[in-house]
Symmetry: C2
Subunit: 232 residues, 2 copies
DNA sequence: CATCTTTGACTGAATGTTCAGTCTAGAAAC
DNA sequence: GTTTCTAGACTGAACATTCAGTCAAAGATG
């Protein structure tokens, strides 16, 4: 599966190839785990020879490392875009929680929660990846932090220390993500989402009414612009 | 290096050998990561032949899997023991947080936060380990949950849903553990500990005064046996 | 416009290394 | 004198990486 899509569509050359490989690598990592990902797997997935993979990325390590970077960037970009489309701080923060907890209808290869587990594990030993992860975490904390500040100025939220709150929330999200990634029978996506939102609403002192967010699909029933589709 | 300590101390035969290997395995995993742990590393560490490792554990997989189980059990047992020694629910819950956040003076091989990252990553693909992890998580949640209930009955804590709180706290602890494991410059052990305790105190409605807990040194000055040194 | 030349994408067949696991046989322990 | 341990040498398979080219399109050259 998979290969055809792009392979058929003719994009053989140039940097689309690179990207194709990065994507394939992420898929394989998600399935087999970082450590068990072989160059041959990635190659096979897009129907090319292993040698070609090395042709583009000098080493296996480079391929995998770059694919992680790729994931990281995409994910952050998606976050930014979505934030921009939402009107209130409360809605934005809810979207962040949703991104962390709720699987999306259009399951991208970049999703798959287990990818983040591998990411963390890798960061523990690979300094380059460690730096990446750190920056990434910092970015999310800042996003949350400034969101909170905004919300406070707009009178949506009660006054609490934004930085501390950001650390708390981001850590909580990571922790919940583990449960979700590992399919914990007690802490599924919905429950994680609800608990987290309750926590936030309580901390920031705003009303949060459960329901609304119909599973996947969209982030908010009402709120107009039902368009957002996350192209691919 | 390393070998000497135990090797010299005579415990050569029988099941102490097994345990010695399990410990060594954990050390190596902590250093090199689960995926990069070789049988030869474990053997070398205690100065034996790789073949001997296979003699005791039929396969590499078995060795590693068992070492994870070993870690899991020890950690939980330590938790139980410590809980038993503390008088109030508040103190117990603080100890749990400390165990999750604060490195201890007598750094056991079993510690090393990165071990947990590997544990989770492994659980994502290895059903056996997945079961282990799930049970483990459940145990901690129950511990917290019943702790909260106790505290409530004793009038120490305000009334909140104990199960939900347990999920929240355990997830938060996991999330903070990631930051700590990866040496995040912003979220170090102390800050994680403080933030977490503040959160708890607020949720459960009790007073928590920072100070007290002098960094490492274990939870309680006393503890006698200053001997245990864990060679290395 | 027919021919060479160049260049970039790509492959299949080696090569070499790294390990897990086996096998043989010696030393202890009981 | 079995049975339990243990080491050392060895095997076999799995891979990453290299190498020597193939192939086709794009430019030169005449």
């Amino acid at each position: 599966m998979t290969d055809t899509a792009q392979a058929a569509s003719g994009l053989g050359t140039a940097d689309s190839r690179r990207e194709q490989m990065l994507r394939a690598a992420l898929e394989v990592i998600a399935e087999r785990g970082y450590a068990d990902t072989r160059i041959a797997d990635v190659a096979e997935r897009i129907g090319i020879s292993p040698a070609l993979v090395i042709y583009y990325f000098k080493t296996k390590d480079q391929l995998l490392t770059e694919s992680i970077r790729y994931l990281d960037n995409i994910w952050y970009a998606v976050g930014q875009r979505r934030m921009a489309e939402l009107p209130t701080a409360a809605a934005r923060i809810e979207e962040i929680v949703a991104m962390s907890c709720l699987p999306e209808a259009d399951a991208e290869p970049r999703s798959s929660w287990t990818l983040w587990l591998d990411f963390w594990t890798l960061a523990a030993r690979n300094p380059e990846v460690a730096g990446l992860r750190q920056r990434d975490d910092e970015r999310w904390r800042e996003m949350v932090s400034s969101l909170v500040t905004d919300g406070q100025q707009a009178g949506e939220f009660r006054v609490v220390d934004a930085d501390n709150f950001a650390i708390l929330l981001c850590s909580l999200l990571d922790g919940l993500a583990i449960q979700i990634a590992l399919d914990d029978p007690v802490v599924g996506p919905e429950r994680a989402f609800d608990l987290c939102m309750q926590f936030i609403a309580e901390q920031l002192g705003f009303e949060w009414k459960d329901s609304q967010r119909a599973r996947n699909g969209g982030y908010q029933a009402g709120q107009s612009n039902g368009a957002r589709q996350e192209g691919r």
